[in-house]
């Protein structure tokens, strides 16, 4: 059965290549994953079917309602933003609280840090995570270190930076990157990545309340595709805690953002084709990350695969792999594996070959089982 599958896997790529050259090629936008909605949370109260941008809009509305000392700013946010997350907020809360900035990311971050130092909740949007690098210095050298270097006199906890990240099907070099690992190297910051609407709202509200500067990377492909039953009330999802999305006992699959949905599909595929159960973990929080939960699962299954869209070398998977082998060495049945984007710039036309899609993840599960 395995060998059959192997040939099928091998020819899948070939077929894809051939089909791209044929004249009948259709120009259909298809995502590389299937969305798995989050289960209805146990919290009591009304819920509503919302996609991720609507859920974020809800969260921002609540934040502005609850705290009169909170503002939202970024490029074109007054019009609703390119991904519609800030729709109608200016109309409702006024141009003093929801306003456009010039196109200057370093300025946006620095300005937000200043606001936060004074105690205003500054919710900044960087239009694409790929544009965050001019703000890198401000976030790494200013925001992250304010409390430490002022001996606790000032902090930057009121700063929340939202940035759309990840593959979107056609984003090319500068609209697709996942820069979480760059920031994960910075003590003082907190970084989260939601996997859908329900998580986006809860995490964003947590970030806004969190007394440390937070960056929330929102996988942009999920803005419209991720539809969950989202509670209407204010709720938070704890930063620093991962979640077991699917229980299993033979292989642990770790991912975050869009990749969680890829891994859930892989778990189904593995169950069906190899009759093996996988445990899928959504890391949710990159910094700090839930080593305890991941290691607990690793000890149970003995096999860990980490998948992320960013390139492999020094990707956040490396940190997880290192920790798992240090903490769970004697429990492991096979070396920890990483399935990631290649160590190359995010390609424009080769996106589908770059992504750690379900076939590559499936192959990794097959290999780790054979080790």
């Amino acid at each position: 059965m395995l060998s059959k599958l192997r040939t099928r896997l091998r020819s899948a790529g070939k077929k894809l290549l051939l089909s791209r050259n044929s004249n009948q090629r259709k120009h259909v936008r298809s995502a590389h994953f299937t969305y798995f909605p989050s289960e209805r949370p146990n919290t009591i109260g009304e819920t509503q079917k919302l996609n991720m941008y609507q859920a974020i809009n809800h969260a921002l509305t609540l934040a502005l309602e609850n705290d009169p000392r909170s503002v939202i700013f970024g490029e074109d946010v007054a019009f609703g933003g390119v991904f519609r997350c800030t729709m109608d907020l200016k109309k409702r809360f006024g141009a003093n609280r929801v306003f456009n900035t010039p196109l200057c990311e370093q300025g946006i971050a620095g300005f937000g840090i200043g606001l936060a130092n004074v105690g205003i909740s500054a919710i900044a949007e960087i239009q694409f995570a790929d544009y965050i690098f001019p703000a890198f210095d401000q976030l790494v050298n200013e925001a992250a270190k304010v409390r430490y270097r002022s001996g606790g006199t000032f902090d930057c906890g009121k700063l929340t930076v939202r940035a759309p990240c990840g593959a979107v099907g056609h984003g090319g070099l500068y609209h697709s990157q996942s820069p979480e690992a760059y920031f994960a190297h910075t003590p003082g910051l907190k970084i989260v990545v939601p996997r859908g609407a329900m998580h986006a709202k809860g995490l964003l509200l947590s970030c806004i309340d969190e007394p440390d500067p937070c960056i929330i990377f929102e996988p942009k492909i999920l803005y419209r595709t991720a539809v969950d039953e989202v509670p209407l009330a204010h709720y938070k999802i704890e930063i620093g805690k991962a979640e077991v999305v699917r229980k299993g006992n033979t292989v642990t699959l770790v991912g975050w953002g869009t990749q969680v949905h890829v891994l859930l599909e892989v778990a189904d595929l593995v169950q069906e084709k190899l009759n093996v159960s996988c445990e899928v973990i959504d890391l949710i929080s990159i910094l700090p990350w839930d080593a305890e939960l991941v290691c607990k699962s690793a000890r149970k299954t003995g096999r860990v695969i980490i998948a992320h869209e960013a390139p492999m070398t020094n990707g956040f998977g490396a940190e997880i792999a290192a920790t798992v082998q240090a903490e769970c060495f004697l429990y492991l049945e096979a070396p920890v594996q990483r399935v990631t984007g290649w160590d190359c710039p995010f390609p424009h036309i080769f996106e589908q070959f770059y992504l750690p899609d379900k076939w590559r993840c499936f192959a990794a599960v097959r290999d780790i089982l054979k080790y």
């Binding site: 050259n21 259909v28 390119v82 001019p134």
Partner: protein
């Protein structure tokens, strides 16, 4: 809603044709004509370019062909995008053609240019046939970056791209210009950016460096009135972009007048090469499309505003009228030229659609000159993809 600067420009948009024709004996058309440009505005300059500009019949036809070709390319690109044959990000130049065409007409072979993401027109002007542009847009092997860059990343000799990050190309332009000074080839570099990018901090950093070291860089702020969805007044404390270099001299130019842009660029090149260092040109222009294909371009400005510009300031129509009125060309000639361009652009689109995509091996090609391990890491360090180097770069 209409930014006041645009309104001002529209108000003074009547153009005077100076009747200084020289009729050739053989035919009925003029061989040369002069026109009066709108007044330039100057910053820290004692005198500016001449407002009296002359164009020969041959030059006029050449300029018209280029303006028209870029318009056709952009229209075709917009259609290809709607057909979903172009994917990803795509920013159209329609409305701004006179800026690029005017500058290119003044550039000498040793001069370089670098621009942002509205790069299709420049790519064509810098020597890439429309096929190369379309093949790049559609991700095919005949693309001038082999289909690997797409809309925002096109290159040619002396054309350093096509850059995707707002404002990031401006410091590069100063570096390019410094290199030209260093190797002493007499060239200048035109570093283009929009009114939105003009607010990026790095632009101010290199104003300083360029003036400090008298680098032959022409900063060109193409002011189309809107940085994405935000009008200039809402984004900039001073919308006089030609003065924003403080100690760097500047000129304001009607960017819808190809001859004014050409004249001012000649002046700017002269300024730079005479050792006076950098200069800023602000070309006042307008874009008809949205910022990118995902922006309908109507939520932050009225349709009437766009229509008004199309009717009163269009760089193509106004230039066509001028050269027709000056008898430099006949209506029949214009018609023939337009027909030829339409056909050649349509053919290029067809050819690009039928071109092949590059092989998958190029996914990991050209990341390094020589990869230390000859391979690019794959899912595990022991399962690599081979790295390839396909050829020397233009600057090698």
């Amino acid at each position: 809603m209409i930014p006041s600067c645009i309104r001002n420009v529209a108000a003074q948009s009547s153009r005077r044709n100076m009747a200084s024709f020289f009729f050739s004996k053989k035919s009925n058309y003029a061989t040369e004509a002069s026109f009066e440009t709108k007044p330039y505005r100057l910053h820290k300059l004692n005198h500016g370019p001449s407002t009296q500009v002359t164009v020969t019949r041959d030059d006029a036809i050449e300029l018209f062909k280029k303006l028209h070709t870029i318009r056709r390319i952009e229209t075709a690109a917009g259609n290809l995008y709607k057909e979903k044959i172009i994917r990803g990000f795509c920013h159209l130049y329609s409305g701004q053609e006179a800026c690029a065409v005017g500058m290119k007409a003044a550039m000498r072979p040793q001069d370089a240019v670098i621009t942002a993401y509205r790069a299709h027109g420049w790519t064509y002007l810098m020597g890439i046939e429309p096929f190369g542009v379309f093949a790049e847009l559609t991700g095919r092997q005949g693309g001038n970056a082999k289909g690997k860059g797409g809309s925002m990343h096109m290159y040619a000799k002396n054309f350093y791209g096509g850059n995707g990050i707002v404002g990031a190309q401006v410091p590069l332009g100063v570096g390019i210009a410094f290199a030209q000074k260093y190797i002493n080839n007499g060239g200048v570099c035109l570093a283009l950016y929009g009114d939105g990018a003009a607010n990026q901090g790095q632009v101010f950093e290199v104003y300083n460096m360029a003036k400090l070291w008298d680098v032959p860089c022409i900063f060109v702020c193409e002011n189309n009135g809107y940085g994405m969805g935000t009008s200039v007044e809402r984004a900039a404390a001073s919308t006089d972009y030609y003065t924003r270099g403080d100690y760097v001299p500047g000129i304001w130019i009607d960017g819808m007048d190809v001859l004014a842009v050409r004249e001012a660029t000649k002046f700017a090149i002269e300024h730079c090469t005479s050792g006076k260092g950098p200069i800023i040109m602000e070309t006042m222009t307008y874009r008809y499309s949205g910022h990118s294909m995902s922006d309908p371009g109507t939520s932050y400005r009225t349709r009437e505003e766009v229509q008004e510009v199309r009717q009163t300031r269009d760089p193509l129509t106004s230039f066509k009228e001028r050269i027709l009125n000056a008898n430099l060309v006949t209506a029949d000639e214009i018609k023939t030229i337009e027909g030829e361009i339409r056909k050649s652009v349509d053919d290029a689109v067809k050819a690009a659609k039928n071109d092949k995509e590059i092989p998958l091996s190029e996914l990991t090609a050209d990341i390094y000159t020589t990869c230390l391990e000859n391979e690019i890491r794959n899912t595990t360090p022991f399962n690599p993809l081979s790295h390839a180097r396909l050829g020397p770069a233009v600057n090698a």
